[in-house]
């Protein structure tokens, strides 16, 4: 079992584990941010470079440091490896540069974007970015492409993480979209403008780290932080669908249905399009209770998880002071 030390925290992991996976096993205090890596999707990672770390000691056998910063999602751990993430100023500097490059063509239309509030690029640039841009050039724009009734594609916001392409490859039956062109001209597109029509295509919305793929049924309905997330489940007929979802309520109305995201922002189980787009009545679901949202998230504002409703505080529950 190789032993790896990340920012001074040691852990023994199985052979073939990547640095990113090992860091996530230790916890969020050492885990580097990841925009393209997705643990549920095979061969994801290696595109965005936000998870770059410094390997200050290669292994016990060869203790030389690695000459360059390495992507944590693609580098396997070695026995005795020592990794610096947040403790290295070099990594911080490089990550700031990566963030600047990711934002190079990003329109920064967060006030309009439906992803705002749960956007990984927003978090990343808040933590690592600079407040001002240095770009003088025009940002990329694309012709609007209709990819179906359920999903809205905003190509200008895309950071080309390839996650949605991996979903199409691995979760859905047939891939109908991919990345066209190369380099600066690369874009997510469907073959001959063919609409994405698949039972699991809605998961692209959940895996998209930015607002490039958003829910058309939720488009401009509300802001994420005005909706109340509630865990719910139903018995879905689809054999591959887990039926475990989060319902996003505004008052009594379900505005949006998404998969349940864990602390790394990855969905725990993929859900089918019927659950996501068609079941928007409370009667369709078995409600489990309010979803816990990290209190540092803007979504947690005005959410009262442990609130006791006044009607539950009946007189019978209050014990009399003097028992007769």
């Amino acid at each position: 079992m190789p032993k790896v030390t990340i920012d001074g925290h040691s852990i023994e992991v199985a052979e073939g584990t990547t640095i990113l996976q090992a860091a996530r096993m230790i916890g969020p205090e050492v885990a580097p941010p990841a925009m393209c890596y997705y643990s549920k999707l095979k061969t994801s990672g290696g595109y965005c470079r936000t998870c770059i770390v410094k390997v200050s000691k290669g292994s016990d056998k060869d203790p030389r440091p690695m000459p360059k910063l390495v992507p944590a999602c693609r580098t396997m751990v070695m026995d005795g490896m020592e990794v610096l993430n947040f403790t290295s100023p070099e990594v911080k500097e490089a990550r700031k540069g990566v963030t600047e490059f990711l934002l190079l063509n990003h329109p920064l239309d967060c006030p309009i974007c439906d992803q705002a509030g749960e956007c990984h690029l927003q978090d990343l640039s808040y933590e690592n970015g600079s407040a001002k841009t240095r770009t003088d050039f025009e940002r990329r724009t694309f012709n609007k492409l209709n990819v179906g009734n359920h999903i809205q594609l905003h190509m200008t916001r895309c950071i080309l993480c390839y996650r949605c392409v991996k979903v199409a490859e691995q979760i859905t039956d047939g891939r109908v979209h991919g990345v066209m062109n190369r380099g600066d001209h690369a874009e997510i597109s469907t073959y001959i403008e063919k609409a994405i029509d698949n039972d699991f295509s809605g998961n692209m919305i959940d895996v998209c780290p930015v607002g490039a793929l958003t829910d058309k049924t939720f488009r401009f309905k509300s802001r994420v932080w005005f909706t109340k997330p509630v865990d719910a489940h139903r018995n879905c007929d689809h054999p591959k669908c887990s039926g475990k979802v989060v319902l996003w309520y505004q008052k009594e109305e379900v505005l949006r249905v998404t998969g349940r995201k864990d602390q790394w922002g990855e969905v725990e189980e993929f859900i089918c399009n019927t659950c996501r787009f068609d079941k928007k009545q409370t009667s369709d679901w078995t409600i489990e209770g309010p979803r816990h949202i990290d209190r540092h998230s803007v979504i947690s504002s005005n959410h009262y998880e442990h609130m006791v409703k006044p009607k539950e505080l009946t007189i019978n529950t209050i014990k009399p002071l003097i028992e007769s």
Binding site: D109, P111, I112, R219, F220, S222, R223, W225, F226, N302
Partner: protein, 178 residues
């Protein structure tokens, strides 16, 4: 009894003198003070004939600004509502349709925008939060009304008219980022 502070005074009640018993000098002294005030500069204004001058930082009724071409700046991003400590702001967004480009600046706009002026504490956080230069607090006052429903200001009252613009140049902040 021993005094604790040595500052207490023992008051002796004595009879008034003849002059004091007349009361006239005291009354005249009071009248002199009263008459002096008649000739001083007045501290009050005769509202509404004269209106007090506001400081540039005065925070009164909000305005939803339009840009130079008369399009509404607000995109219903909800940042004002989430930052509002009194939860006075509510809004409903809508998508701009083709042909409405001269009405709304961005793809999304606020179809309904309401501020409950009875809830509002005029802290100005909405103005600080606004990323689109849309909402500003002005030196205007809320009209007195009899019914509570009159204090929920919708877009009809908040959005500035294209022919009578509201000057907010004094409240615009210049941010310098390093």
């Amino acid at each position: 009894m021993q005094s604790l502070t040595n500052r207490s005074k023992i008051v002796q009640k004595r009879d008034l003198t003849f002059m004091e018993k007349l009361y006239l000098p005291a009354i005249l002294g009071g009248m002199v003070i009263t008459i002096k005030h008649l000739f001083r500069k007045k501290v009050t204004n005769k509202y509404p004939d004269t209106v007090r001058e506001f400081t540039p930082v005065y925070r009164g009724v909000h305005v939803l600004k339009r840009d130079e071409q008369g399009r509404e700046n607000c995109t219903a991003c909800g940042l004002c509502a989430v930052t509002c400590p009194a939860e006075a702001i509510t809004m409903t967004a809508a998508e701009r349709k083709p042909g409405e480009e001269n009405l709304y600046r961005e793809e999304k706009y606020a179809a309904v925008y309401e501020i409950n002026m009875l809830r509002c504490i005029f802290c100005g956080l909405c103005e600080d939060a606004c990323p689109k230069d849309a909402i500003y607090l002005t030196d205007r006052l809320i009209d007195a009304k009899y019914h509570r429903s009159n204090f929920i200001y919708g877009k009809d009252k908040l959005v500035e008219k294209t022919d009578e613009r509201v000057d907010v140049s004094k409240r615009k902040k210049v941010y310098t980022l390093s």
